[in-house]
Amino acid sequence: MMITAAHVQAHVVNIGNQASALPPRLVADANILYWVFYPNFASLAYAGGRLPLSYQISTYPGYWVRAAGAGCQLFTANATIGEFAKVSEYAELEARWLTDPSRPQPDPANPVTRFDARVCKFARYHDAASLGAIRRGLETVIASIFKSVALLDLFSSAMAQHSQADSVWLSSLADFPDAVLVASALNQGVDCILSDDTDFATFPSITLYTANRRTIAAARTAGRLV
C-alpha cells in the first residue's frame, strides 16, 4: 500500500518544476542530506555513464543550488544529523561487507547474502578496528553539512520536544523521527520541509518540497499540489 490522495495532508511543491516556489527558510530531511552531501557510488556510476541520472541525484542538488543561490536559509534538526550518520555509516559498512570475499556472517550456520540491519550491527563489532576511520570520514561529511545548513533550535525542554513530536506523529502516518523533524521545524516557525520521503506528505501544517513522483501524483489528486 502506497500513499494515496486520501493520505495527503501537507501542501506539496514539485521542485522538479523550475518555476516552483523558493521559500525563505527550508528544513532538509536526512535523505536530502544523503543525496547532496554523502559521496555515494551512484553518483560515480552516473558520471561514468553506467547509470542514467536518477531524479534523487539530479533534482535535489539542482534545487539546492537554486535555493542557496536565492538566499534561502537551510536548516536541519539535530536528530536528523543522527539519522544521516546512521544511514551513511550503514552504507559504509555495507560497502565493506559487499566487497569482502568472506562476507563475514553473524550466524555462519545460516549465511545471508543480503546486508540488513542485523548484519550491519554485527559488522560494526566485526569491523571495529575500521570503525574509527569510517566515522572520521563521516565526521568530515557532517562538517561539510554544517557549512551550509544550520541546526534548528532546541526546545525549551526535552519533554516539550517529545510532546510536540508526539502530537504531530499522532496526526500523520510518518515514523517518529520524521515527527521530531517536523516538530523541531514548526517550533522555530519553519513549515517548509525538503524531503524525498513520501511520509512527510501525511503531516498537516507543513509544505513538503519534493521530487518524489508518487507523492506529487497523490497530492495532485488530493488538490494539495501548490
Binding site: 552531501f37 561514468g48 539542482g62 559487499l98 562538517a143
Partner: protein, 118 residues
C-alpha cells in the same frame, strides 16, 4: 600546466552533479594531453559531494591514483572542504579497485540507502 577557476566555470555554488560532470570532462581533457591541472576553488561558497564525486571521483575510472597524485592539484579550499575532497577521493579509489560485479552491488546499495520513492 592548466589552471581551472572553478567558480568562474560553475559559479560559487558547486553542488550540481551535471556541473561536476562538465568539470570532469574539462580536467580529463587536460590530463589526457597530458598536462597537469590545478583547480582553483577561490570564490566557491558551497562545495558538496554531489559535485565533487562526478567532478573528481570519476577521474579514477580513467587515470591511476599515482598519476592523479602527480598531475591533479588544487588550491583555495578550507580545511573542511579539503578533507571532504580527500574523502571523495578515497571512496572513488575504493570503488574503482573493486571488481565490476562488486561495483554493481555497490551502486545498487547506494541507491537503496536513502529512504525514498522505491
Amino acid at each position: 600546466m592548466s589552471e581551472v577557476h572553478v567558480a568562474g566555470r560553475v559559479g560559487p555554488i558547486c553542488v550540481s552533479p551535471e556541473d561536476g560532470t562538465k568539470l570532469c570532462a574539462l580536467i580529463r581533457e587536460s590530463l589526457a594531453r597530458p598536462e597537469p591541472v590545478t583547480l582553483d576553488f577561490a570564490g566557491v561558497t558551497t562545495l558538496t559531494s554531489s559535485f565533487l564525486t562526478p567532478a573528481i571521483g570519476c577521474l579514477y575510472a580513467s587515470f591511476t591514483k599515482d598519476f592523479l597524485e602527480a598531475n591533479l592539484h588544487w588550491k583555495g579550499l578550507d580545511q573542511t572542504d579539503e578533507a571532504l575532497l580527500r574523502f571523495v577521493q578515497q571512496k572513488a579509489i575504493f570503488f574503482y579497485t573493486t571488481q565490476p560485479s562488486q561495483q554493481d552491488d555497490l551502486i545498487a546499495a547506494s541507491l537503496r540507502s536513502a529512504e525514498g520513492e522505491e
